[in-house]
Amino acid sequence: MKKPEIPLIINGRRIDGRLPDEVREIKMSIGEILNADGSARVSFGNTEAIVAVYGPRALFPKFLQETDVGLVRVIYSMSPFSVDERKNPAPDRRSIEISKVTKEALSAAIFIEDFPKAVVDVYENIIQADGSTRVAAINAASLALASAGIPMKDLVAACSVGKVDDTLIVDLNGKEDNYSESDMAVAMMPSKGLITFLQMDGRLTKEEVLELLKKAEEVCKRIYELQKKTLLERYKMEKEEE
């Protein structure tokens, strides 16, 4: 809704020099948080998320326990210094909503029937925010869950797509996020072609929505490969340490 001060696409290039379909540099690592059952760090350019997984562990008070399936809880939060204007660390409405839909996105991929009465806690923190924070966190959460040994149907890979200056783009940075005509966050289980997370806003035709979904699928597949590679390397490293 807000007008950008400067155009977001000049000569076919985005403000950070990328092409429309170009993803920023992606970094992934696993196992940094020693206290956690699983942890991972994922960055897209200057967007950086750390995630720790605790569980499955006993859930109290007892009335919260589901008898036949386990519970997944997610807390998404941003460090106060991750954004331009210092963020109060108390959870705001945006964080609560993201936590809720992320919980649903991850639950869709977890065999929750494998840990009845127990809970898996996924704690996501954004260290640096430059757009696409929720999808960075989902990618890290998926790695952290896998490295914690939580039984999963598939890894969940996520990315953002959107429309700026009449151009469809992938992996929005902060400025693009703020001034986009539309943006969409997608998470999926790539090997199954199933979408577990979808948030979109803006003004798009049906055809544009479908085209963006296709672009998102391509990016998610690349991320999926990176995730598998990262897990494999971690696995090898652990084997060697034994």
């Binding site: 809704m1 409405r93 649903e104 639950s107 869709a108 979408i195 997370f197 035709t205 049906k206 479908l210």
Partner: protein, 250 residues
């Protein structure tokens, strides 16, 4: 009950006899709250929600100094269901309010730039949803109530920087009537307007906000299931179709 609902759905039927693409009866009333600048009441198949609009003078956001401000809030009052505890809005109420907010904002339904009063002063438009009975598909009922209330909102008179409540100078500039169509997926079927009983067995939903010109202005997947690309394409078609039907009620 759950088994009963599932059995019906498996047979391609709904327990209340509706087709998969049918809404329950919808009652919409406006201007039902005398103190609000705009208000509406929606009864969608038993789900009851009030939307009240209050206008206040406030400071604009630094990055849009000439635009009014929209704030949407939803209270799931404990009257509405035995499961709702009194207290601040939970994640479901927050999500609902934020989706309604995005549907209004992203559809550009309100001409916010016309809500400028003077340097440093703009109208703040509060849309408050008060839910009194939860019988399924609160999402679509809330969007309908909000837009209906906005369509009947009047801007009060201002004298010496003070609002004169009860005296009005103009209508709120609302130029679109976006609606939401929430679609559930059960097996490979898509259903609209889930009842309370259906919501208990169908855990994957897609909310789609549609503007008068068929532009999609918001989407949100809800629930712990997953959707295929084909599901989404089908849901978009269904949403665009049903949106016209809902919009006629506004």
């Amino acid at each position: 009950m759950e088994e009963f609902v599932k059995e019906y759905l498996n047979q391609g039927k709904r327990i209340d006899g509706r087709g998969f693409r049918d809404y329950r009866p919808i009652e919409i009333k406006h201007s039902v709250v005398s103190k609000a600048e705009g208000s509406a009441f929606v009864n969608l198949g038993g789900t009851k929600v009030y939307a009240g609009v209050k206008l206040d003078i406030g400071e604009p956001f630094p990055d849009s100094p000439n635009e009014g401000i929209l704030i949407v809030n939803a209270e799931f009052t404990p009257l509405s269901s035995p499961e709702i505890e009194p207290g601040p809005p939970g994640e479901d109420a927050i999500e609902l309010a934020r989706i309604v907010d995005r549907i209004i904002r992203e559809s550009q339904a309100i001409e916010l730039e016309k809500l400028f009063i003077e340097e440093g002063k703009v109208w703040v438009v509060y849309v408050d949803l008060a839910v009194f009975d939860m019988r399924g598909n609160l999402m679509d009922a809330s969007t309908l109530a909000s837009i209906k209330a906005l369509l009947h909102t009047r801007i009060p008179k201002v004298e010496n920087g003070k609002i004169i409540r009860g005296e009005f100078v103009s209508k709120l500039p609302v130029i679109y009537k976006p609606v939401s169509v929430t679609i559930g997926k059960y097996n490979n079927n898509l259903l609209v307007d889930l009842s309370k009983e259906e919501e208990e067995v169908i855990d994957t939903k897609l909310v789609i906000g549609v503007r008068d010109d068929d532009k999609i202005c918001a989407m949100q997947k809800q629930g712990i299931g997953a959707l295929s690309f084909k599901d989404i394409e089908g849901a978009l078609d269904l949403a665009i179709e049903k949106s016209k039907e809902l919009r006629r009620l506004l």
